[in-house]
Subunit: 211 residues, 2 copies
DNA sequence: ATCGTAAATATTGTATACAATCAATAGCTG
DNA sequence: CAGCTATTGATTGTATACAATATTTACGAT
């Protein structure tokens, strides 16, 4: 049958692209966003651009100053501790909610992501390490099956990624953090809540000690 | 000088209005949303309506089925426990983050909201009790000064409000819950973390025991 | 030269027109 | 009558045009 490729709207594509650009640092914090500029850049009209920008604003990645301009959200160093604490609370709930069966069921993906982290670490690609680390933790949250938790975590993770970029991917503890993933998986598989929680707590805390 | 009243855009006003209608139950879960219908209802074009709907979708209050329709988000009863657990995690972090000084500084507003709850309880207006209860807890979170926490809590609270409506505002423990507010304020003022946490935990847990 | 004011310029906000897609209905075929 | 196909109708997606507002530039007064 026909209807081959066209599925997502221009608005969706623009949204996804800008989001990716922000989270990868291609569009950095504080940078101004012009609707017309983006429109000509993407080769579309302003309409889908506007919708994308507004969605990103609601997502927390863009700040809109009404009737004047929009800019990429800029994380403040003072937010580091705040973000870390919220993340800790959500990660602890994640660990508490995870059953060994749920982890087993997704062990393939989890192991692969943990391995990806170590691989990129070994070749010195810190940017990609952080990407895979985020994916690993998001996957853990997904395994809980708690949608409300996932939604909250996903938005917070965006801020975490912005922070990592703002700190220029510096983190002396990165090798140690990454090496903890397999231990965490093991502890979760065994249902050792005590150990899992301890590992996760150390993991998260050390994620924000740089600088 | 001139320029007296006009500040917010139509898009913002529409967004706020629809949001309020959803959270008050005027627009109930599963109800379909037609852009044109809303446009004629608000007396504006489809443009600001579309932007508002998309923002609400990003907020989690509207579900968009691309190229067909949009509908008000419908909370599932199976989500009750999930939402409650996330809320508990965030509320516990809130209590841990609150200093007696921060509470003191905002004691006026907090006391007033607690009193409002009791007043509406006494006159049997359960809908308004829930509204003020939400405001009370949001105010507590605001007092922490943790923006990331506030953002996460605000979105979750929207789901909580939807749940309350879906459950038809039924909750046998409501009087007891409301009566705990002053004790909580006191415990927070004294910096009694132990008691504060215990109170808050009981508070949240009993908020979801109905049905 | 600096400050304030006014014209010019650019950008956002909204309405409208058109195109594309989906849902529903009617009609045809077996 | 069931099931498929085609056509109609309604709704969303995008582009464009215009209006309103903000920013910048130019200019004159002190």
């Amino acid at each position: 049958m026909p209807n081959p490729i066209k599925k997502e709207s221009l608005s969706d594509r623009v949204y996804a692209t800008i989001k990716r650009q922000i989270l990868s640092g291609e569009l950095s914090g504080g940078m101004l966003i012009s609707e017309e500029h983006l429109a000509s850049q993407f080769g579309v009209s302003r309409t889908p651009i506007r919708e994308a920008i507004r969605r990103l604003s609601e997502y927390g990645l863009v700040i809109i100053k009404p009737r004047s301009y929009a800019m990429v959200y800029e994380v403040d160093d003072k937010e580091v501790q705040d973000i870390a604490q919220v993340r800790l609370a959500l990660e602890e709930l994640t660990v508490r909610s995870l059953t060994p069966e749920a982890v087993e069921r997704d062990i393939e993906t989890l192991s692969r992501l943990a391995a990806d982290c170590q691989y990129y670490m070994s070749v010195g690609n810190r940017a990609e390490v952080f990407v895979k680390d985020s994916e690993f933790h998001l996957e853990l949250v997904r395994c809980t099956g708690n949608r409300a938790l996932y939604d909250a975590y996903e938005r917070l993770d965006a801020k975490v990624q912005l922070l990592r970029i703002a700190q220029n991917l510096n983190n002396d503890d990165l090798p140690r953090i990454i090496s903890q993933h397999p231990s965490l998986i093991d502890a979760l598989k065994k249902g050792d809540m005590e150990l899992s929680t301890a590992l996760m707590r150390e993991h998260v805390i050390h994620s924000y000690l740089s600088r």
